[in-house]
């Protein structure tokens, strides 16, 4: 059901700023839905309105970009998967940042979207390189853990667990989890609270 994620090549889009929360990525009014369809059009909607065409998601040079490069603590706040879904449906296939909020990162893993971290200096250098020449592609390589853009090459980081899930194609964990049904029932039966009467 799932496929391996090893390397990705696409044009980059820099989005600067620390602590960009999921309410900004997808405002709550767009959570009134029973599917994730159509969220891409509303990614960063209020920020985009405020910046009147100057938001990277609206700038012509970044249309069609696939690698989003962000700064510190990206995706903090609400657990809404609608946030990474909106970004993915806009066209993003991988993120590079100084750091990611934990739930956002986990949601991205479950969707097959790698979030890689790099040092502040390297992230800023990559954002600069993309802004200077938006038509150049960025290659994200999970085997060598590097991102390259022209002559810039930066080291990337990701925990071993999630990295293996991408490389082995097991980022969609459901099948693996369900396959352990017997073990799950044993673990449950050994927990005292599953046997108490309420």
């Amino acid at each position: 059901m799932t496929s391996t994620v090893t390397t990705l090549t696409g044009r980059g889009i820099p989005l600067t700023g620390n602590d960009i929360d999921t309410d900004r990525i997808i405002p709550a009014r767009f959570l009134k839905c029973v599917t994730f369809d159509g969220l891409g059009a509303h990614a960063f909607e209020d920020d985009r309105i405020q910046r009147q065409g100057e938001h990277p998601f609206d700038q012509p040079q970044y249309q069609g970009a696939e690698v989003l490069v962000v700064n510190r603590n990206f995706g903090c706040g609400s657990s809404r998967e609608h946030a990474p879904q909106a970004i993915a449906k806009w066209g993003i296939k991988a993120l590079i940042g100084e750091s990611f909020a934990e739930i956002f990162f986990g949601n991205c893993v479950a969707m097959g979207i790698p979030c890689l971290t790099a040092s502040e200096a390297d992230v800023k250098a990559l954002q600069g390189a993309i802004a200077t020449n938006p038509q150049r592609t960025v290659t994200v390589d999970l085997t060598t853990m590097t991102a390259t853009c022209d002559d810039l090459s930066i080291p990337l980081h990701m925990g071993d667990g999630p990295r293996q899930m991408f490389l082995s194609g097991s980022w969609d964990a459901t099948g693996q989890l369900v396959a352990q049904a017997d073990q799950i029932r044993t673990t449950a039966a050994n927990l005292p609270y599953t046997r108490w009467s309420a």
């Binding site: 609400s78 909020a101 739930i103 667990g161 899930m165 352990q180 009467s197």
Partner: protein, 467 residues
């Protein structure tokens, strides 16, 4: 690597095995769902022809989209009505217990599970909502998840996770009058930062937390996520056990004694090892108010809006963004800032003790001219209890609107929203740009008592002057 903490023990007991990726497959003892983050998860189950492995371990309610004034069905908002129907259908199809509006037990998911005794020490608890950290107040390992993970829990009652580090956040001493649990957590987030907790579970320890009621501990744990920590917990003790005794889902008869024994064993050992320890003193904490656009941008009520140049470099950009968005200048006292809307409620501060504190300040006073003020109980049970105590009458006499249970203006997925550039004094948990429903609306986070103080004076006020 932590060792001997409650987190380590509960993690080990719930470990099903190690996945090929090296991650832990963790059993989830209690799964809570609501209307916003579950419909797509059920759709994925249907698409893959998977069933719900432990339907009795999932409990549903409706909270985010619920109107807090008229709750007649169908809802006026057709999108909200569609979400409601989706949840009703999914719960019926998969045999999941659902506390619907009018059941007497509906409410904010993080209010109803504790009040029914569903939340217990030593459990792992997951919910598609970041404020699931609330349940850690009982000594549970509780955290928010996204929709794909909701699917995984429904299908397998487990999650693929990497173990967190454990930071002991110790606060000792006695809080001064007018300083509440909300001020303690706002102070901690201010000091440790909004990303300080990423990769950590926070263990809240020390005499200040030991003396807190369960509801106060819930307020603290609720906002762990605002400090970046996916979960926060307090070791279970006599306060925890007394709160749970006799509640609907709490263990009964002979099982009660067994439960207390087991819960006690799970407490962090006296010689437990932590990945990090930080210590604060309760007497240093003032009533705290946020001035910016992250929950870490907080200051004591007697302080002035901080100057960017005096901050660490990584905080300067967002500070500049905050001055502009909030229209507050560096160096300005936060006290005296005029407000438009005052909101008491939310999973942080919508419990009966919060309403009692708020009513204490409201009694005999009146909401200032031009201010909209409303009180939203966290659950139908909280509402009933408050009415039995006459709190609704105190609020109404003081000019507050008294509403039905729901998330209300915390996140504005329902009709309760800020308009334009309105500024709110809010007992909720997030002051992000646009959070309360207007893309230019502004939020000042504070304790419920401070919200009432702002409502009756029309401006940010030190509640200690009114006590």
């Amino acid at each position: 690597m932590s060792h001997g903490t409650l987190f380590d023990k509960v993690w080990a007991l719930h470990t099903v095995g190690t996945l090929p990726s090296g991650q832990t497959q963790l059993f989830i003892g209690l799964h809570l769902i609501h209307e916003v983050t579950s419909p797509q998860a059920f759709a994925m189950l249907r698409e893959r022809q998977l069933s719900v492995m432990f339907p009795e371990r999932t409990v549903a309610t409706v909270d985010h989209i619920v109107p807090t004034d008229s709750q007649a069905r169908p809802f006026g908002d057709s999108l909200a009505e569609a979400m409601m129907q989706e949840l009703e259908t999914n719960c019926a199809d998969y045999g999941i217990r659902f506390y619907n509006i009018g059941s007497g037990s509906q409410g904010i998911v993080h209010v109803i599970a504790p009040e029914q005794g569903l939340t217990q020490p030593g459990m792992t608890i997951a919910c598609g909502d970041s404020h699931t950290s609330t349940h850690g107040a009982f000594g549970a390992i509780a955290f928010g998840i996204g929709t794909s993970q909701v699917r995984d829990v429904l299908a397998s009652q487990t999650l693929a996770l990497a173990k967190l580090k454990v930071r002991k956040v110790e606060v000792n001493g006695t809080l001064k009058p007018g300083v509440y649990a909300k001020d303690v957590i706002l102070h901690i987030i201010r000091k440790l930062g909004v990303k300080g907790g990423v990769g950590y579970a926070y263990e809240f320890a020390g005499t200040t937390f030991e003396r807190m009621s369960m509801e106060e501990r819930m307020t603290v744990c609720n906002m762990s996520i605002e400090g970046g920590a996916r979960c926060g917990y307090v070791n279970p003790d006599a306060v925890t056990f007394e709160y749970l005794r006799g509640r609907d889902a709490a263990p009964k008869a002979a099982d009660w004694e067994k439960a207390v024994g087991w819960w006690t064993c799970l407490r962090s050992d006296p010689d437990a090892e932590y990945d990090d320890v930080v210590v604060f003193q309760a007497e240093d904490i003032e009533p705290t108010v946020t001035w910016g656009i992250t929950p870490g941008q907080g200051i004591g009520i007697s302080e002035t809006v901080p100057v960017a140049a005096e901050m660490p470099p990584e905080e300067q950009v967002i500070a500049e963004e905050a001055y502009q968005y909030m229209d507050l200048a560096a160096g300005t006292p936060i006290k005296g800032t005029p407000v438009d809307v005052c909101f008491v409620g939310s999973c942080t501060n919508g419990r009966i003790s919060d309403l009692r504190e708020a009513a204490t300040v409201a009694k005999g006073r009146h909401v200032a001219a031009g201010i909209t003020a409303f009180v939203v109980p966290g659950s139908e049970r909280v509402k009933q209890q408050a009415e039995a105590e006459g709190l609704d009458k105190i609020f109404e006499a003081a000019g507050f609107e008294w509403r039905n249970a729901g998330c209300s203006m915390c996140l504005a997925m329902n009709p309760d929203k800020l308009v334009g550039r309105q500024i709110s004094a809010s007992s909720s948990n997030r002051n992000f740009k646009g959070r309360q429903g207007s893309s230019s609306g502004r939020t000042l986070l504070m304790s419920p008592a401070m919200v009432v103080a702002a409502a009756v004076t029309g401006q940010v006020t030190d509640v200690r002057e009114l006590l």
